[in-house]
Each structure stands twice: as structure tokens, then as C-alpha cells.
């Protein structure tokens, strides 16, 4: 699936959500208290990604519920990549580093207290990570000298922003299930000596923009 197709899906969902969300920013005047509790969640998409590919992340989040309308959220994760001796290029790449995202979601539904939500949100995110990059010795194509390639513990960082759209469904009791699609935009970065990196913890494969997603299991506590 290309990134263009993902953008189409994202746009369709955004349009659908807009249609469902008349007056979403209006504070609902009722007797429901302002503070509705805290929820913790775990991202299954990142963990699945880590199992099925060479990179991924283990990520949890803490979410405060304000009147079922606003959800200040802190997401913390550990991003990992381990690509060993690529069969074509012979390059190995390793990184493992924490990251965080801080932001807020807004419930777009008109009836906000049903337990189900369509939400839009934003995040600011940051990671500081070190990369190990190695290419086994290979002969220079003209001169035939053996040539090494690589860096060890090269420090890098990246700031980025995300806008997201998602749904959250009440499954049973305090358990929720939901997903979010995220458009990520790199704000600032330092990629160290190699001038580029590959996997950035919490962001994904290095590009100036990316689409990402999470699939969350959430428990109200």
C-alpha cells in the first residue's frame, strides 16, 4: 500500500468525522463533572510492527478525561530497530531509545458521554537516540582497497509534530479499544555524522513527513 492510499483513507475518515461532529467544540452543559478520570493504554500496532518487521515501538499512554470532551495525553515509548546485514547492501542498523509525545485529543461526537468517541488531536514529540551503523568491509570498485563504513553510538535527535484522527470504542467495563491515524511532520533534527538516519524511535522511517497509526487497548482507572 502506498502512502498516497493511506492519505486517501485518512482524508475519507476526516470527512466522515466532520459530518458526525456538529458542534464538537461546544462545551456540553450538563451535570457530568469536569474530571472524569484517568485512563492508561497500550499500543498494539507498534508492538505488532516490532514483531513483524525490523523496527517498531512499545508504547503506553496516560490520558486524562475532562468531561468526555478533552483528553490531555502523554505517550511514552521505547522505539527499536535492528536490521542486521541487509542481504543486498550489507548494511546493519541498530537503535533503541525512548521517546515521548504530549498533546490533547478532542471528542468530535455530539453525544459525548456514550463511552464511544471519534477524536481529533495533536502531539508534540521528541526523541534523543543513538545509532550504530555498520557496513561490512567491501572493495572499492576501482581501486579495490577494502573499505569500512559505519558509526557507533552516534547521537541524534528529532522534534516532530503530529495531527491525528481516531476512534475509541467501549468494549466492556473499563476496557476500550481504538485506533488513530497520524500525520507526522518533522520539525527539527540532527542525524549526526552519516547526515541521515533510518528508523527514528516513535516517528518511523526517516522522511520529512510520514503517516503513522496506533491501535490502542485502554483501561479506565
Amino acid at each position: 500500500m502506498t502512502q498516497a492510499r493511506l492519505i486517501c483513507i485518512f482524508t475519507s475518515l476526516l470527512i466522515s468525522a466532520s459530518a458526525w461532529s456538529q458542534g464538537f467544540l461546544k462545551w456540553e452543559a450538563d451535570t457530568v463533572p469536569m474530571f472524569r478520570g484517568v485512563a492508561v493504554s497500550f499500543d498494539l500496532a507498534g508492538a505488532t510492527q516490532l514483531q513483524l518487521s525490523d523496527y517498531g515501538q512499545l508504547e503506553g499512554a496516560v490520558r486524562v478525561n475532562l468531561h468526555d470532551q478533552y483528553f490531555p495525553t502523554l505517550e511514552i515509548g521505547l522505539g527499536k530497530a535492528s536490521h542486521e546485514n541487509d542481504e543486498v547492501t550489507g548494511i546493519s542498523y541498530h537503535t533503541s531509545a525512548p521517546y515521548f509525545r504530549l498533546g490533547c485529543d478532542v471528542n468530535l461526537l455530539k453525544k459525548k458521554h456514550t463511552g464511544n468517541r471519534i477524536f481529533a488531536g495533536f502531539r508534540y514529540a521528541y526523541t534523543h537516540y543513538k545509532i550504530d551503523l555498520d557496513r561490512q568491509n567491501f572493495p572499492d570498485p576501482v581501486w579495490q582497497w577494502d573499505t569500512g563504513f559505519g558509526v557507533k553510538d552516534e547521537p541524534c535527535y528529532q522534534h516532530w509534530a503530529e495531527v491525528l484522527l481516531g476512534i475509541d470504542a467501549k468494549v466492556a467495563g473499563p476496557l476500550h479499544m481504538g485506533w488513530s491515524v497520524r500525520y507526522r511532520k518533522r520539525l527539527a533534527h540532527d542525524d549526526g555524522k552519516p547526515e541521515k538516519t533510518w528508523y527514528v524511535p516513535g516517528y518511523g522511517i526517516q522522511e520529512s513527513t510520514r503517516l503513522g497509526y496506533t491501535f490502542n487497548l485502554t483501561i479506565d482507572i
Partner: protein, 176 residues
């Protein structure tokens, strides 16, 4: 069972189906898809422009060969019978601190000159992605050369990378 409760149960099923559909979509995406975005232009070479005494680009009227010596002391030809051109590109070694290039130039009268250019450089490992071949960029730091047929060589742009439009060196051949 009242109407509102039935509606809520129906809605919850839809939500859960949406969630499940997304999870399946996500899993199939990782099993089936990958994309590789390596630069199309990925040749790193030094670009020489031939100049006359006034510093203007000029066409080579003689014939030029360039070769170098490999790690096993055998020769390899880098440029064969260049004539009627005003510029040429030569490969640059990945990680050797100084490349030695031998210029052999012959004119129509059968006069030949032999020169050696030593090109000093810093080598910078360049990484695009694990899917893209490893390359080196270079920073030219100095030249030294013999002056049989070459008058002078000047570094114009020391950064040697994927950009094929750059001129890295001006070479001035001695007048006959």
C-alpha cells in the same frame, strides 16, 4: 429492552468492527508492503573543467588518457581517448586519503606528456537507508601535480557528492 439501549448495542458493534478492520489492515500492511527510496542519481565522481589561460572553459584539442594504480599495483584506465570535450568526470576512491591519477596527453604531432596528480581528500560515509548501497562523499583538501603538460589545477568546489552539476576542479593545460 428499550430502543435507546438497542441503538447503543448496534453502534458498539459498528465501532468494534471498525477497530477490528483497522487491526487486520495494519497487519496485512506490514506483511505485504515495503518501499525503497534510493536516490536515482547516486554516482559520486570528480568533475573537471578544462580552462584556457584566461580561465574560460575551452575544448581539448589533444587526446587525453587518465589512469590510476590499484591496490594490487596493476593499472586501470579511467578515461580513454578524450578529445574535443571541455570537461570530464573521474571516479574518486571511497576511503583512501589521497588518489593518484596519471594524465597522459598526446597531440596531433605525436608529442606526448605525462603528468601525475595527487588529490588529497577527507572521506565522509554517506548513508541513505539500509536499502541503499553505501557511498562516500568527499571534501577535497589539496592537490599536487607534476607540470609537464599541466599548467595548474584549482579546486573550485571541494564538496564531492551526488550532485552531477558541480564543477570540482579547473584544469589548465600548458600551451604547446
Amino acid at each position: 429492552m428499550n430502543e435507546e439501549y438497542k441503538q447503543w448495542i448496534g453502534l458498539r458493534k459498528i465501532w468494534m468492527m471498525l477497530c477490528a478492520a483497522f487491526f487486520i489492515l495494519h497487519s496485512s500492511f506490514f506483511i505485504s508492503c515495503s518501499s525503497i527510496n534510493c536516490p536515482v542519481q547516486n554516482t559520486v565522481s570528480t568533475h573537471f573543467v578544462i580552462c584556457d589561460a584566461d580561465g574560460n572553459e575551452t575544448t581539448l584539442s589533444d587526446t587525453l588518457w587518465v589512469w590510476t594504480k590499484r591496490s594490487d599495483d596493476t593499472d586501470t584506465l579511467l578515461l580513454n581517448r578524450l578529445i574535443g570535450k571541455s570537461d570530464f568526470s573521474l571516479p574518486i576512491s571511497y576511503s583512501h586519503p589521497e588518489d593518484m591519477l596519471v594524465f597522459f596527453k598526446g597531440d596531433i604531432n605525436g608529442t606526448f606528456t605525462l603528468d601525475t596528480l595527487w588529490l588529497k581528500k577527507d572521506d565522509i560515509p554517506h548513508f541513505e537507508s539500509v536499502d541503499c548501497p553505501a557511498h562516500f562523499f568527499h571534501q577535497l583538501t589539496g592537490t599536487r601535480y607534476t607540470r609537464n603538460g599541466i599548467d595548474s589545477i584549482t579546486i573550485i568546489d571541494p564538496r564531492v557528492d551526488y550532485d552531477p552539476s558541480k564543477t570540482h576542479l579547473h584544469i589548465y593545460f600548458a600551451a604547446h
